[in-house]
Amino acid sequence: MRVSLFVTCLADQLWPSAAVGTVQVLRRLGCVVEFDERQTCCGQPAFNTGYRPAARTLAQRLIEIFESSTADAIVSPSGSCTAMVHHYHQLFDDGGWRARARGVAERTHELSSFLVNRLGVEDVGASFSGRLTWHDACHGLRDLGIRTEPRRLLRRVKGAELVELPNAETCCGFGGTFSVKYPEISVAMLDEKVDAIERAGVEAVVSGDASCLMQIGGRLSRRGSPVRAVHLAEVLASTL
């Protein structure tokens, strides 16, 4: 199986271990991984803030890049960026571009969904000792329907004990520019999430989106908490 990596600009520059982990897990499962260096950003920040022409330009760029790949699948360590690609068709009035957008979207998968639903794998041979809890990132959860896949994967990690958060599905408050346009509200939402994480008595909170991890991790450390924010791919790649 040949996979083209959709790294996401956030993972690339701020959380590369998520992308590196993604590559390692895919290779461990026998995939050949390609990376097209022309890729940058999927355009989500522009789309979410209302700058559709900019989003459209970046969408066209990404569609062209991935169309040129003959890989069997495009895999991303981000639910929100994958969801953005799945929404690309909404950016175009032109029937031709809509079809091309849909074509790329069909081949684009978020990591946990790819592993469980495409490769049919739950045990990826990972070891990670400690109590973990999972945070459902909103776009992956609600746009892509990803709920059981990460949990199934984490439960098969040797040494890991998965604890369920009572508010696992509640938004962490990031929401892109929302986190800095309305920071007080963002942090109020965030504190409810972090309070629950601390009460859960875990060593790490795991999620499938670097944006959520930045938000949650940033507050955990500011509050002096020893709990780490870890990306799903980092856990799955871990063989310690």
Binding site: V7, R27, G50, R52, A54, T170, L190, G218
Partner: protein
């Protein structure tokens, strides 16, 4: 920016936040329990949405059908293009009938048009009879939740309010407080010449209006006074009498987790014989006030499918923190964030579409499947196109720079490397005041890829 200011005030109010957490959590749990007893909830949502879509696609025809049937049954139907016209129509009817005591049951449309203030200018003071609205009226405030308007008040605050305005002894026993309101309002019901109500659904096929409630105040409002006036947004119409079933199944469960509210009144015109119980006259006021504009595109049109259940408020993690007042209108929460800018175009309109993290919890619980995030995104794109809001200049520049850089991967890499080397971080005080900022990675993914990751094989293979 008034939304921001009011949101901050709310965030600083510990008692309000506790009340909101309690209420939204409880309603959420009750809703989930109510759904669990229902075999095909998703099918019902689909059916209800299909009915709304069908209605809105032919709204003119259904409104005409409703009007003809309501008039045939004895109702007088009035059309109001905007808030001022609606207030004028209602004010004239009230004055012509010499109405001195006017009782009102829950009507969000009446608050949308600021009816009470307009009537007061004519020397008519309508009394709110829904307990939550009554409390809010006595306090001179605005409602903070669609279903429980006074959720922001403690019983101690209400006790003090009643002691002051109703002259009762201080007591924070809830039953005692409710009884005091009941006593005070019974007098008004007995004397009222005019009852003003809202409408939950209006059936085109029969000219029937349906009103749901738990307290009984809407029944009193619509059966005791000689004149009943019902105010409704034009989007409240549905095609057939039988369509009521699916909406009655969805609305109470979605809003409060009840299978049914205590009362539904299905009113079709006026009494058939003079000796029958009930009002002599029924006036129905159809309100546009910006709704017809929303029909122009499919994405905004779905806003009109709303049945005002309040489920989105209870699901929204933003509303949970700040409550209703910050939204600045009678419509709070997620639906408020999309309805208020489109209907009222108030000052907060440019803020409201951005006051969301786009999490989509509202879309999950909406009984008619309104894709609120999609409407928010549409309104944001519209705001950018129109150049609305003062902060746009810097933001436009930022996004121009972003798009320019992102189209050029080499430029992006160069800038990132420069920022890393020079330790330049964007001055994001709005982030760093509360959260540590993760630094740029010493080596980006693509640098690692080029430096050897590309050619590595899996060591375990």
């Amino acid at each position: 920016m008034t939304f921001e200011r009011d949101a901050r005030t709310a965030l600083a109010d510990g008692q309000l936040r506790g009340a909101l957490r309690h209420a939204t959590t409880l309603f959420g749990e009750r809703r989930r329990a109510a759904l669990a007893t229902v075999p095909d909830w998703e099918g019902a949502r689909d059916r209800a949405r299909a009915i709304k879509d069908e209605t809105l696609a032919h709204l003119d025809r259904y409104l005409e059908e409703f009007t003809a049937n309501a008039e045939r049954a004895g109702a007088q139907v009035h059309w109001a293009r905007d808030a001022a016209e609606a207030c004028d129509i209602i004010g004239r009817i009230a004055q012509q009938r010499g109405a001195r005591t006017v009782v009102k049951s829950k009507s969000m449309a009446s608050e949308e048009i600021h009816l009470n203030a307009a009537l007061a200018r004519r020397g008519i003071e309508p009394v709110e009879t829904d307990l939550g609205e009554y409390i809010v009226q006595l306090a001179g405030e605005t409602p903070s939740h669609i279903v429980v308007p006074a959720i922001h008040k403690t019983k101690a605050q209400i006790a003090a309010l009643f002691a002051d305005k109703l002259g009762i002894a201080l007591s924070d026993d809830v039953a005692t407080l409710a009884a005091a309101a009941r006593q005070a309002l019974r007098r008004r019901f007995a004397e009222a010449d005019l009852g003003i109500s809202g409408v939950n659904f209006a059936v085109a096929e029969t000219g029937t209006i349906l009103i749901l409630e738990n307290e009984g105040n809407a029944r009193l409002t619509t059966s005791l006074p000689r004149t009943h006036l019902a105010l409704m947004g034009i989007e409240k119409v549905i095609p057939r009498f039988a369509d009521l079933e699916v909406f009655l199944q969805l609305l109470p469960r979605s809003g409060t987790g009840q299978a049914l509210t205590a009362y539904q009144s299905l009113l079709t015109g006026t009494k058939r014989r003079p000796e029958d119980e009930g009002p002599d006259e029924l006036h129905i006021v159809l309100l546009d006030n910006g709704r017809s504009q929303m029909l122009a595109s499919a994405v905004t049109r779905q806003t009109l499918a709303c049945i005002r259940c309040g489920a989105c408020l209870n699901a929204c993690p933003v509303y949970r923190q700040i409550g209703g007042h910050a939204y600045g209108s009678v419509y709070p929460g997620p639906i408020g964030a999309v309805l208020t800018p489109q209907l009222l175009g108030t000052g907060r309109s440019s803020e409201l579409p951005y006051a969301s993290s786009l999490c989509g919890a509202c879309r999950d619980v909406c009984p008619v499947k309104i894709d609120i995030p999609a409407v928010l995104l549409h309104l944001r794109a519209q705001a950018v196109d129109r150049g609305a809001g003062k902060r746009r200049v810097l933001e436009r520049l930022a996004f121009w720079a972003y798009a320019t850089v992102m189209a050029r991967p080499r430029l992006l890499e160069w800038l990132v490397r420069a920022a890393r080397t020079l330790r330049i971080l964007p001055p994001l005080a709005a982030w760093t005041k509360w959260r540590d900022l993760r630094p740029l990675a010493p080596r980006s993914f693509r640098e690692q890829w080029r430096a050897g990751l590309r050619d590595q094989r899996d060591p375990n293979a």
